[in-house]
Amino acid sequence: MSSNPLPANSSRLGGCTLTGAISVTSHVRDTVTVVHGPKGCSHHNVSLLHASWLEDDRAVLPELLSSGLSEKDVIFGGEEALRRTIGVAATKEGVRAVLVLSTCVVGSIGDDVTSVCSEEYGVPVVPISSAGFLGGTFQDGMNNALVALAGTASPCDTNRSVNIIGEMNLEYEVEENYREVERLLALLNLPVNIRFVHNTGWEELSRLGAAELNILRGPALVPVGEYLKERFDTPFIASFPQGLSGTLSFVREVAAFFGIDGQAALREECRRQEEMLDQFSDLRRVPVSLERVHSGEDELLAAEELAAALDLVMGTPGTCAKLPVNAAVGTSGTKRMLHRWRRAVHA
């Protein structure tokens, strides 16, 4: 994930803060997300989540409720509408908590969302700042939501396990990427404590402090990692592994952290990577160019390393196959990228 704010490199740095926050809160089961703003702010996001969840074979609608602000609420203040909506959300069957997101409009008129949330509703109500006009991005919305949710958990006894922090829930390969990290951890006999958050139950969040290590989805989540470190004393690794050597060094780093002998795991993973490269030997010495679309430095480096491992020849763009560069999480993610490359070469 790039920290370069140029639009060409940084789609996640341009999006709506509210959508970033919703991508997190909608993945906490047994909760309702209240979007305090005009109804359009929710509608647009429900459509987006519904479509992306269908890709993931989840045929349910996200639990989103809008306070449905009108011009009248803007003039006289929207706090009453918020109070009413939280009340409705809190009494829905099976709801353990209400997560409240703010929008541009309520940020502009200065509704005191935090104080309305601190009233008594029978279940915990968590305010999350997500008014986009303040200059925040999709990523800030995600981070704010994760930090607010982390604030509901208390430090607890730890066990030898790992948390997965800040999965990109709208990413097409979110599940595959998680499975790959889980597989790599299993090579070291390390279980996942909780996914913070991806289809995670409200009660599970209380176990957030039980892991001994946090693995962030990407470096843009470092502020969240720092917060968790301060609150639970849990150190973090800043990114999912990228590419061939990135995957090996990830295994090495995690093994060293837990004081495990990782040699067997590393040998196993090396063998897997060699086998994979053999399967793609038809690509050897083909002239290609790498096409970078919304990919960060790490992803480019991983792609260049992979191209070198296959002896690909860098040709003049326009005269040879254009290979897409995308996030290649672990060995499996690298393999999926190789399949795309093969399609590009044989197209």
Binding site: E71, V74, I75, E79, I109, G110
Partner: protein, 270 residues
């Protein structure tokens, strides 16, 4: 139809001046509409025998926009003057500026903005786009600044000049500064100071209104000076203001002063 707006520092006497001006205009056989554009809603009280009339925003809040009609928001007060109060949210919540915009849209829809003269009496400072609404295209084309010779009051007046200047620069904008009304506090050389201030911002002092206890006397009797003491000298000043405004053809784009210019001007007249 003549549409004018009075702006100036809070507490400087805009509402008193507006109500007396409307009264004086009504005696020239003109059909007058006064619109209070301040959530405090006390602009038209002296025209309504001390009554706080329901505001447009109160009615919208309790009945919804569909339940409000023209006759609910316009009240006839002293000498046939039609009175409207925009109103707004409770202090500290919501957005009063948006309330002003909504009020204007509703009055427009009702066709309420008619007559010979409309007097807009606006909140102390142009704090946001909503309170510049009366200056926008289609509404007041003449802005009058109400100020005393006190520095804080001149400072506010100068700030409003900035708003008028900005709005005047817009395409098709007809918003202009009509003049400066000196509502005196009774400090020495006050008239000279305000006259000079008006000249420096590219305008004129259109009327000097001296400080007079009769204003307070009229107010405790819940009347304008025009109604309470029509033969007083003070009533004469308000009638003079009404006449000058009706005859005024000197509308300008103001040139606001820098803050040190303003302060050195005030020092010259100490």
């Amino acid at each position: 139809m003549k549409q004018i707006a009075l702006y100036g520092k809070g507490g400087i006497g805009k509402s008193t001046t507006s109500a007396n001006l409307s009264s004086a205009l009504s005696h020239r056989d003109l059909s007058v509409l006064q619109i209070g554009c301040d959530p405090k809603r006390d602009s038209t009280r002296m025209l309504m025998q001390g009554r706080f009339i329901p505001t447009v925003m109160d009615l919208v809040r309790t009945r919804g926009e569909a339940g409000v009609s023209l006759s609910d928001v316009v009240f006839t007060g002293y000498n046939g003057i039609r009175c409207v109060e925009a109103g707004g949210p409770e202090p500290g919540v919501g957005c009063a500026g948006r309330g002003i915009i909504a009020t204007f849209q509703l009055l427009e829809k009702f066709g309420a903005l008619e007559g010979d003269v409309i007097v807009y009496d606006v909140l102390g400072d142009v704090v946001c786009g909503g309170f510049a609404m009366p200056m926008r295209e289609g509404y007041a084309q003449e802005i009058y600044l109400v100020t005393s010779g006190e520095l804080m009051s001149l400072y506010a007046a100068n700030n409003i000049c900035k708003a008028v200047q900005r709005l005047a620069s817009r395409v098709k904008s007809k918003c202009r500064l009509g003049g400066v009304i000196c509502n005196a506090k009774g400090q020495p050389r006050e008239e000279d100071l305000v006259t000079e201030f008006a000249r420096r911002v590219n305008s004129t002092m259109i009327q000097y209104i001296p400080r007079d206890h009769i204003v307070q006397q009229a107010e405790v009797n819940q009347k304008t000076v025009i109604e309470f003491a029509p033969d007083s000298a003070q009533a004469g000043h308000y009638r003079s203001l009404a006449g000058r405004i009706m005859d005024n053809s000197s509308l300008t784009i103001p040139s606001p002063l820098e803050i040190d210019e303003l302060e050195s001007l005030a020092r010259e007249f100490i």
